[in-house]
């Protein structure tokens, strides 16, 4: 198993280095202040309001995007399961955002849609007599959530649609014979059938959403202030903008611990279904 060894080395070496640096004074612009720091970096981190803001933002971002994409994804999956003219083309259009690279989607949203003067949204709002909004200045986190949801909704749709289509049509027919309305069918037949697929969607999205970076980097740079800084961006800013390797590493350790807590529950729920 050569790849397991490679992967092990790949994960362990940087991990150990991160943990090691997190206990050191290590600043690239201030080489004199080196040496063992003990828990100073961590103390500095937990007393830093930026850190708590970033942690909260990370969780809010993850939670909202999950709710939005799984919720709408389920509804849309049921919708696109119905036959209608041109359904295949409509479906291709609907899943397209997933294939767009994050920097492009962030920039297109920022400049073409949400720009306070030239964006389509502002133009539309002015047309109906509303005051245009500077989205990224006034609602930074919500704007980032909107972009990220737009990117991941097609993914949820794609997976859930496949699951809906595998639903037994005879079963559905039987339910209808028994007098189940559309809503009852959805809740008692479709939704239980989808639970496994929803689990998969939640797991994969969580993996990627904990580390959202490009969307923030391109649009708000974490601002204004720290309003849209998540952990990933905070660590980046600490390490590569402020050259504070020790502090950034401490943040990295926290991020890893956080991810492990999430991963623990997710992996356990998957392990139960895994047949090896």
């Amino acid at each position: 198993m050569p790849s397991v060894i490679v992967l092990l080395a790949w994960m362990i070496v940087p991990l150990v280095m991160t943990v090691w640096f997190s206990f050191q004074y290590y600043n690239l612009v201030n080489p004199e202040a080196a040496g063992f720091a003990g828990l100073d970096n961590y103390e500095f981190l937990v007393t830093d309001p930026d850190f708590w803001a970033a942690l909260t933002n990370t969780v809010i971002l993850l939670g909202s995007v999950l709710v939005i994409t799984v919720g709408f994804g389920t509804l849309l999956a049921v919708l696109f399961d119905q036959p209608f003219p041109g359904r295949n083309i409509a479906r291709l259009l609907a899943i397209s955002p997933f294939f767009v690279m994050p920097t492009v989607s962030a920039l297109v949203w920022k400049n073409l849609l949400m720009h306070p003067i030239y964006g389509v949204l502002s133009v539309a709002m002015r047309a109906v007599g509303l005051e245009p909004v500077d989205w990224f200045a006034q609602y930074p986190l919500a704007s980032v959530i909107a972009i990220v949801s737009w990117e991941w909704l097609p993914f949820a749709l794609l997976i859930l649609l496949t699951a809906v289509q595998s639903l037994d049509h005879e079963q559905r027919e039987a339910a209808r014979m028994d007098g189940a309305g559309a809503i009852a069918q959805f809740f008692f037949l479709t939704l239980p059938h989808l639970s496994r697929a929803i689990g998969v969607v939640v797991m994969i999205e969580t993996i990627f959403l904990l580390t959202v970076f490009a969307e923030i980097f391109v649009t708000t740079s974490g601002g204004p202030g720290n309003a849209s800084t998540n952990l990933a961006f905070l660590i980046y800013a600490r390490a590569l903008l402020q050259y504070d390797i020790g502090g950034a590493s401490a943040g990295g350790v926290v991020a890893i611990v956080l991810a492990n807590i999430v991963a623990f529950f997710l992996v356990r729920s998957i392990a139960r279904r895994l047949e090896v």
Binding site: L15, A90, Y118, A214, Y236
Partner: protein, 271 residues
């Protein structure tokens, strides 16, 4: 019992409305890319299409080098990941040990570690090794980044190959290498292809490592596009043209392969 006409019309209208709404940002981007800079900021549909922006983006000599970087690192990273993953998935699928299950789950959990957690050490290691801003560095990162997913996907595809076939091959005296090369690979070609496809898409769109580890020499298209975010770079039409070119190949790719992708992405859990 047939749905009423009204119901069907509503479904069709809602379906198309949702699809167009979701596609709107992409469509608008493509539309803007054919405008002049003056028209681009006007948000109006009345304009004369022009290819000027495409010309200007392509005329910047470095655009092609960014595109080339994207191709090289995506393909390189995918090939490297497959080279490692094929033997690993093979041994796990056909010669499982007591630890196979644990190893698989552990690999998946590594994928959940945020890359930022290890950004600093990797950055310093790369700086020491002279790999910063080099294509080889990115290829290595991408291969390792996708390795867990690639192994998992291949594993689920391999599981569906009956052991008897390989058994028969072994009876005929096939060594391990030819067993994999002449039997397993041809049998699972669609699976390997969709695995490679997904890895390619992930590499092509990757923006964390490329933004942090490259500056000019090895930067792929994601980085190039990100450079448009600076305020003085506010050229809507050129931005759209560059973005359209960066997105188009992978978008078309995705359209054709969506079915295989679902299976791959869900590790075969949803069929």
């Amino acid at each position: 019992m047939q749905d009423s006409l009204l119901q069907r019309v509503t479904t069709a209208i809602t379906g198309w409305a949702v699809a167009l709404l979701l596609f709107f940002p992409i469509g608008w981007m493509v539309l803007t890319s054919f405008k002049t800079e003056g028209d681009a900021v006007k948000s109006s549909l009345a304009f004369t299409p022009t290819l000027a922006s495409y010309g200007e983006v392509l005329a910047r000599a470095d655009y092609l080098s960014f595109a080339l970087n994207s191709v090289v690192v995506s393909v390189g990273g995918t090939v490297l990941a497959l080279l490692f993953a094929i033997p690993a998935a093979y041994s796990m699928a056909f010669h499982p040990t007591a630890r196979t299950r644990g190893t698989l789950l552990w690999m998946l959990s590594t994928k959940m570690l945020p890359p930022v957690g290890v950004l600093v050490p990797i950055y310093l290691l790369f700086r020491t090794a002279g790999l910063l801003d080099s294509r080889i560095g990115l290829v290595l990162i991408y291969a390792l980044m996708n390795l867990p997913i690639v192994v998992w996907m291949l594993f689920t595809f391999y599981k569906e190959v009956p052991n008897d076939i390989l058994e028969a091959g072994r009876m005929d005296g096939a060594r391990v290498f030819s067993e994999v090369w002449h039997l397993l690979l041809p049998l699972t070609m669609p699976g390997v292809a969709s695995t490679g496809l997904l890895s390619l898409i992930l590499c092509w769109n990757e923006a964390f490592w490329s933004l942090n580890l490259t500056s000019a020499g090895a930067a792929p298209l994601t980085t190039f596009i990100a450079s448009f975010s600076s305020p003085e770079g506010l050229f809507f039409a050129k931005l759209s043209a560059a973005s359209t070119m960066a997105v188009a190949p992978i978008l078309v790719f995705g359209w054709f392969s969506q079915r295989q992708l679902v299976r791959g992405l869900t590790f075969g859990a949803v069929k």
